[in-house]
Amino acid sequence: MAVSAIFGAKVNRREDPRLISGTGTYASDVALANMAYAAFLRSPHAHAKIKRIDAEKAKKLPGVVTVLTGKDIGSKLNPVPCAWPVTGADVKIPKYYPIAVDRVRYVGDPVAVVVATSPYEAADALDAIVVEYDPLPAVILQEEAMKKGAPLLYEEVPNNIALHWKIGGGNVSDAFSNAEVTIKERFVNQRLQPTAIETRGATAQYDPSTGMLTMWVTTQNPHVHRLLLTLMTGIPEQKLRIISKDVGGGFGSKIPCYGPEAVVALLAKETGVPIKWVEDRHENYVATIHGRDHVQYVELAGKKDGTITGLRVKVYSNLGAWLSTAAPGVPTILFGLILPGAYKIPNVECEVYGMVTNTTGIDAYRGAGRPEATYIIERLVDIFAHKIGMDPAEVRLKNFIPKDKFPYNTATGLAYDSGNYEGALFKALGMVSYDNLRRELQMLRSEGKLVGVGISSYVEVCGLGPSSVVRSTGFALGLWESAIVRVHPSGKVSVFTGGHPHGQGEETTFAQITASELGVLIDDVEVIHGDTDRIPFGMGTYGSRTTPVAGGSIVIACRRIKDKGKKIAAHLLEAREEDVQFDSGKFFVTGVPGVSKTLAEVAWASYGAGSNEIPSGMEPGLESTAFYDPPSFVFPFGTHVCQVEIDKESGQVKIKRYVAVDDCGKQVNPMIVEGQVHGGIAQGIAQALWEEAVYDEHGNLLTGTLSEYAVPTAVELPKYETTSTETPSPHHPLGLKGVGETGTIASTPAVVNAVCDALSPYGVENIDMPLRSDKIWRILKEKGISK
């Protein structure tokens, strides 16, 4: 492929051959000599005092190296840190220890750790530990947790309210008192289990001769992980190396640092043998963070002509038993600011309460806050349209921020960079021949069919994010990203990125960006990530940030290399620097393209560094480190349309057609964009129709294995018809926006809108997710549609 065409090309993902042939390296593939295995004994009670732990019998079993309880660990480990005490919110971060000391707070809370020479012996030892519990009343639901007299999880968190936050703009009470139409709803955005196919795991090795602890961890952010482990273990950062090669999915669940990882580090140091720990699926489901779990009381004010004038939202968010790394930021900053969505709503008010409960902790899950917000506005628009007798597409068009009003400042304080919302909507409506489709559905309805169509027009805030803004929200670090671009003497290139692609395809897209910038072949570019001793300090991969932010840092580094290259080329060509141009891998004198030096020739000269090779006073080498701090967020957007039919007899929802128009600005690799959109839509549809973490009243997770937790397969999912529009981000060096989460954000309300549309002739306004067949059937029965 011509070097000039590499940006924007559908290049095959270079990471795929190793991943699909089973030669990737995941956490559980790490094998070291004399390795021992850790296993955690976890609480069967949602809430209990630990009266006594007797591990004597377990310690005597064959192969057992050691057994440690929370008391044994004592002050050797600090509590699990929370990195986002949101500014302006009332946040109470309780002390949550890696292993429970005297009290357990959810089913799955670790109470002891065993180390043995085989995982079988470790499992035997777990069975031999006797724990006496004194059970306490448990509280599972957030609205129950904040009631007077509810069981209290932590003395330092009165009424279990760990988070209270408000945001608003405009005059909401006026908007409502002047409204011609108001809508009031209660939505439940259910709890989900992230289900990365690779469960969490860590292997730690301590070298007493250097004091260096190396840890192989499955994580989305190796440096952040290292920093959090330093805080927990006291091992200084320069003595701690995190390696994370391939990661089998994260979806947010591998952003946080968890207690067991610190325990594994401590055990490696104390026992002197390498320690490995890998979750099984059940452990993953009870002990790795869950996502979402909002109860939302929402109100919309509007006029009969379809104008939306106000939005009022009150949310009760479940935080689970501890405040995970980013937990307070998800239902606040990542949720509240984007509530107005694609619409010019002048008056917006949002209040959030976050409660600790006797359940697994909740943190970021693909979309993190933004799906919860988009669901509110996109469902409300449909309910509003239905109430005033307008087509939902019309209401969207009427309220969209017009394309000539960007940058646009929302009532919630965001500055949207660019957009053409009506462009994406028209394209999507065109693909389904919307007017014809509506007529066709009307006909099918007259034949007794339960059919509907749903639209979802979203805006996402991503490319997290400008450090000054992020810091002002209380996040512990800035969210810039780093890159080292190293041109070797031969002209080949290594790119070291602080991002940590794990399925998003940036090993490929970053090579494309570099090849395109430096005019080299893509095969001459290696992209390195996931090792704190090789890459510069970086923030990792989440929040649809890696392509725009880490990609931005690579572009800057490449451009610096070209700047230096021009100086060297000018020296070699005996020309003035301002007369030297760069194009397609060659430096040449303006107007004399035959007089040129290749990047490889310039690189060779830079390493030779003789007086005839580089200008006097210039540092040798051809390498650049760049830190890109984005000037603002990026705001991808789009419209999805979903058409459904409901089986009248069984209540099963069948997606007949799914159309997605997404705009993530310029695309480095449209095939990878499409892949991200596909995966996102699948996860969003899964929330709409099937997935739900279910607890019983005692706090047992009833969806603790893949037999119970209903992750859909390709069989249930429709064919996606995807396309895009292109509205570049004006402030990004390449015009890029993120696309990792858009599918998840857009698809959930599109599906629910379609199902509610199908049932609207029967007076059904809202159904809470997931729209399981038994739930739909009950409604059909109540309405007399089904027997």
Binding site: P119, Y120, A122, A123, D124, D127, D280, R281, H282, E649, S650, Q652, W690, V694, D696, L702, T703, S707, E708, A710, V711, P712, T713, V715, E716, R772, S773, D774, W777, R778, K781, S786, K787
Partner: protein, 296 residues
């Protein structure tokens, strides 16, 4: 997900296997395809002292026609039953049932015999053997015996196969006269590979003029403590006209005889009862059409 320690034996003949079982006593478990037993052991819900792996016995995996029966070796994988031309031709119910089981990995490894002996009321094969009136051949060190499908399931996770016995063969009667007999399996599941919310297997034979139901077998999945036979529904069909009304009556009958339980994840007993009716009607309609009926 690590099982307790166990002793492992891998006999190469049935004689050796039943002799070993006799010696090991009730602490032994027979390992066939391992699709249920191995997860149970990994969860430590089952911790047998001895594991008797019968996969080394070469003559337990076959599908062959023996006069009035199609005989299926107990070690026959679901996949083989799904793809067998003989089964497709003469026992459509069995190829359909196999196609609904688990996922491709489960179907490649799992066996019909292992699934039946496990006796999970959510198992799909139970309904197929009940609907087709299959016979089960069971072997101990002492004797061989035959149990009919009505007496095979004793309770949830308990079959007629005693700890010292091995199920060796499933004998399925060849339905009368190709064209007027047909079977069908219908399953309601949350997603591909899920355990049935409800499942219904039917095996029909119509009269020569295709106007009446001559024989009807109905097996039910996830609708009681074991796979059930839909006796009242069968009765509502046999000798009656092939019509939507008759099928409707069978549906009503089945919803009265099933014994489902509430399931937080897959639906209430009421829902399952209603779905037994819906999915029986669908299975009957499809099977009747396959057998050449018109008007349904």
């Amino acid at each position: 997900m690590y099982p307790k320690e166990f002793e492992y034996a891998s006999p190469t003949s049935l004689g050796e296997a039943v002799a070993l079982l006799k010696k090991m006593g009730p602490d032994a478990k027979v390992l066939a395809g391992g699709q249920s037993l191995v997860p149970l052991m990994k969860f430590r819900l089952a911790s047998p002292k001895y594991l008797l792996d019968i996969n080394g016995i070469s003559n337990l995996e076959y599908i062959k026609e023996n006069g009035k029966f199609i005989s299926v070796g107990a070690l026959t994988r679901h996949h083989s039953l799904e793809r067998s031309e003989l089964v497709k031709q003469k026992l459509g119910l069995f190829s359909e049932t196999a196609s609904w089981i688990g996922d491709p990995q489960v179907r490649n490894n799992g066996t019909i015999g292992g699934s039946l002996v496990h006796s999970d009321p959510a198992g799909d094969w139970g309904s197929a053997i009940i609907a087709s009136r299959a016979l089960l051949k069971i072997q101990s060190a002492r004797r061989e015996r035959i149990v009919d499908s009505d007496h095979f399931f004793k309770d949830t996770f308990t079959s007629a196969v005693a700890p010292n016995e091995i199920l060796t063969e499933i004998r399925v009667p060849v339905p009368p006269d190709g064209g007027r007999s047909a079977g069908a399996y219908e399953k309601l599941e949350r997603k591909a590979g899920d355990f049935a919310t409800v499942g219904v297997g039917v095996q029909l034979t119509l009269s020569r003029n295709r106007k009446t139901f001559e024989q009807a077998g109905i097996g039910l999945t996830s609708l009681g403590p074991t796979n059930l036979r839909g006796k009242k529904a069968e009765k509502a069909l046999v000798g009656k006209n092939v019509s939507l009304e008759t099928i409707e009556e069978a549906g009503t009958a089945v919803s009265e005889e099933v014994k489902p339980t509430d399931d937080v994840l897959r639906g209430s007993a009421e829902y399952k009862r209603a779905m037994a009716r819906v999915f029986l009607k669908r299975a009957l309609t499809r099977a009747a059409r396959k057998a050449g009926a018109s008007g349904v």
